[in-house]
């Protein structure tokens, strides 16, 4: 009897404990998501009543040239940025993982941009890359690395993309670094000592011991980085505005344009759902990889 009582009581306590999270997720994730699905089947400008169009918004998306241009560009951006953040963040983490005063300072310096808002950092880099008044052109000219000022943003898609990647690397590389440092520091010191006694070089230790033991963190950071890159918006909205000729318009930028300035909420919702599906595929693939790594 008392066992049953205890079970019922603990069940009630469990329900009460998870209730805030369930309510929060329900109200702020599930309900908006269901509303978005409903909106995606309508034409709705907010200032006129919604009109049922069935699957037309989805059909339109698949024949929309700009949608595919944006999606291809977003995947390209993700493919370029992710290795830079992963390899760069990991190398910095290897350099600063030990707890010495100088390394602590270095960790703080590299991590500081992470706490700056993405909008503010994008604006900062927009001005740093400015053709006439920008510091980057000035430094490159003074060092003799360029003979005339470079137009970094808005004229050449590859150059614009690289400029944005530079700004984002500065902004978020510290996030991966700090997680990698935590993972590296959690490795048992005796394993490292034993490998040193066995004569393993630094890079052998990294490749055969540190990397395998931190693989779970690497996969987690990769997942976060890939999702962040697939949903890139602020940096391109501010630094390139999608130019030149829409070649740097990311998928989310295109969703934003349709949903708000164009007031095509239904089409924007359909595009969002397609994008969410793509992100889901990446997430599932990486979770499977992660499980395999653990197994």
């Amino acid at each position: 009897m008392s066992n049953i009582y205890r079970t019922k009581q603990s069940r009630r306590a469990g329900v009460l404990l998870i209730a805030p999270a369930v309510v929060f997720v329900g109200l702020f994730t599930l309900v908006p998501f269901l509303v978005m699905i409903w909106v995606s089947f309508h034409n709705w400008s907010l200032i006129t009543p919604p009109k049922w169009v069935g699957l037309k918004n989805f059909e339109k998306a698949f024949s929309d040239r700009q949608f595919w241009i944006s999606l291809t560009f977003t995947l390209k951006y993700t493919a370029l940025l992710t290795p830079i953040l992963m390899i760069g963040g990991y190398l910095i983490a290897l350099l600063v993982a030990q707890n010495t005063p100088l390394r602590r300072v270095m960790r703080t310096v590299v991590f500081t941009p992470v706490v700056i808002g993405l909008g503010a950092s994008s604006l900062l880099w927009y001005w740093l890359f400015a053709t006439d008044a920008g510091l980057i052109n000035k430094v490159l000219l003074d060092l003799g690395l360029i003979s005339e000022r470079v137009i970094w943003l808005g004229t050449d898609a590859t150059r614009s993309n690289l400029a944005v990647i530079a700004s984002i690397t500065w902004k978020v590389i510290g996030f991966g670094m700090i997680l990698f440092v935590a993972a590296i520091q959690s490795i048992d010191g005796e394993i490292i000592e034993a490998s040193k006694i066995d004569g393993a070089s630094f890079w052998q230790r990294v490749w055969h011991i540190i990397l395998p033991l931190t693989l779970k963190t690497v996969l987690l950071v990769t997942l976060v980085s890939v999702i962040g890159s697939l949903l890139a918006f602020d940096q391109f909205y501010i630094m390139t505005a999608g130019q030149p000729r829409n070649q740097t318009a990311t998928s989310v930028f295109y969703v934003y344009l349709n949903s708000f300035p164009y007031l095509k909420l239904g089409y924007g919702a359909a595009l969002s759902l397609i994008l969410a599906g793509i992100v889901l595929v990446f997430t599932v693939a990486q979770m499977m990889l992660s499980r395999r790594a653990q197994g």
Partner: protein, 415 residues
């Protein structure tokens, strides 16, 4: 001690409540930008005369104005007065989201001389939904100092696009970083404001009126586009302009590095502040032939959204800003355009020849009328900017560019 604490709390509450809005106040939204000093002055003048029904003004970032208004309308939380970029007038009037103010103005003589471009976009099916809040017009500014250095007559601006090209060629390179002309390479709005008039003046059209109409009509269109490509190919326009997205557009003429530039009346005081010693003149933007001129008549209309409980007070504000006194003592005094054509002869303009030159533009100003202005013209992703970038920076045949732009615009209008 407790009394002191309570006193401090009471004082804080008094200050907080005293500084905030009261129930009698009218709420007004307006987009942010260079218009702020003008609108601030109008509201201040109203508040001084109407202390019992003051206007509380809230600025919305101009890029967020349309979605913000749409959200407000959808949620029913609308302001009493709403400043609206005039090009979006048709979108909101046709959706039935603005109060019909026709009857309030049927006996008001000021409406007859109000800026025709503003009134056109504020009218839907012969009913009036707004009045001009302020006017911006585009014109050709020329730097007389650079004209002198280039051996040109500083009192003779170009009267057609051929002359404009020839003058630009003489000015370009006379000093380091000096270019003859200016066109923004990455700013749709800047181009409809300053490049659009070159097409209109020459007899061409830009956006389609409706689904049955074709975009970019007239023999002049390919000629003007060829002219623009030539200006770029010959290096008469700074290549760095390719990145100009509108952020620094208003600062270019005042830099003293540009011989001629299409810009707006707002640039008069701005250029003087930036470069007090610079001599410059203003004329109308020319077309292919001498005598052809045009301008973009922009600015904002002030409207009353459906759901406002203060329609009569809002209409009083509209009548107030159209009154003779406000036209002269607020608009003209600040060297802004008067929004009534019959008010341009005033004491403030008489002392300022440049504003008189700009005032001529409002008489011929063109305001596009379309329900899809943002998608067609203003969007950085839209066909207008895409067309211009292909013209300015590629070697694609102009005829192909025009054909594909027509198709893109038609697809948007047909939706």
């Amino acid at each position: 001690m407790r009394t002191k604490t309570l006193g401090a709390v009471a004082l804080l509450l008094t200050v907080a409540l005293g500084g905030g809005a009261s129930a009698q106040d009218l709420q007004m939204w307006e987009r942010s930008g260079g218009n702020a000093p003008m609108v601030d002055a109008l509201v201040a003048a109203w508040n001084e005369k109407n202390p019992d029904r003051k206007i509380v003004l809230t600025y919305i970032p101009h890029t967020e104005m349309v979605p913000k208004l749409a959200q407000a309308i959808a949620s029913g939380e609308v302001p009493d007065l709403m400043g609206l970029d005039l090009i979006y007038g048709p979108q909101f009037t046709s959706a039935g989201q603005l109060e019909d103010i026709t009857d309030y103005f049927k006996d008001d003589p000021t409406i007859a001389t109000a800026s025709p471009g503003h009134i056109k976009v504020a009218t839907w099916e012969d009913r009036l939904y707004g009045v001009p809040l302020y006017a911006d017009v585009s014109a050709l500014f020329w730097n007389k100092d650079l004209f002198v250095k280039a051996g040109l007559d500083p009192e003779k601006p170009p009267t057609n696009l051929t002359e404009l090209h020839d003058y630009a060629a003489k000015i370009t390179g006379i000093e380091e970083g000096v270019y003859g002309y200016y066109l923004a390479g990455n700013c749709a709005g800047c181009n409809i404001f300053t490049f659009g008039p070159l097409i209109w003046a020459s007899g061409g059209t830009i956006e389609p009126k409706d689904a049955s109409d074709m975009a970019l009509q007239g023999d002049a269109v390919p000629k003007v586009l060829e002219w623009a490509r030539m200006m770029h190919k010959e290096g008469l326009i700074n290549p760095a302009n390719q990145a100009e997205n509108g952020e620094t557009f208003h600062l270019q003429f005042g830099s003293g590095k540009v011989g001629m530039m299409g810009t707006g009346n707002f640039n008069i005081t701005l250029a003087r502040d930036q470069n007090p010693g610079m001599n410059f003149g203003i004329t109308l933007l020319p077309g292919l032939e001498t005598g052809q001129v045009a301008s973009f008549a922009g600015g904002d209309i002030v409207t009353v959204p459906k759901g406002s409980k203060r329609v009569e007070d809002a209409v009083d504000f509209m009548k107030f800003i159209l009154s003779d006194e406000v036209q002269v003592e607020v608009y003209a005094k600040l060297l802004n355009m008067t929004t009534r054509g019959d008010m341009v002869d005033n004491k403030y303009y008489a002392e300022e020849p440049l504003i008189q030159d700009v005032a001529k533009a409002i008489q011929i100003g063109v305001t596009p009328y379309t329900l899809k202005f943002f998608e067609l013209i203003n969007s950085p992703q839209g066909p207008w900017l895409q067309m211009l970038q292909r013209v300015y920076y590629s070697d694609e045949p102009i005829s192909e560019i025009i054909d594909s732009t027509r198709a893109d615009m038609a697809a948007i209008v047909e939706e």
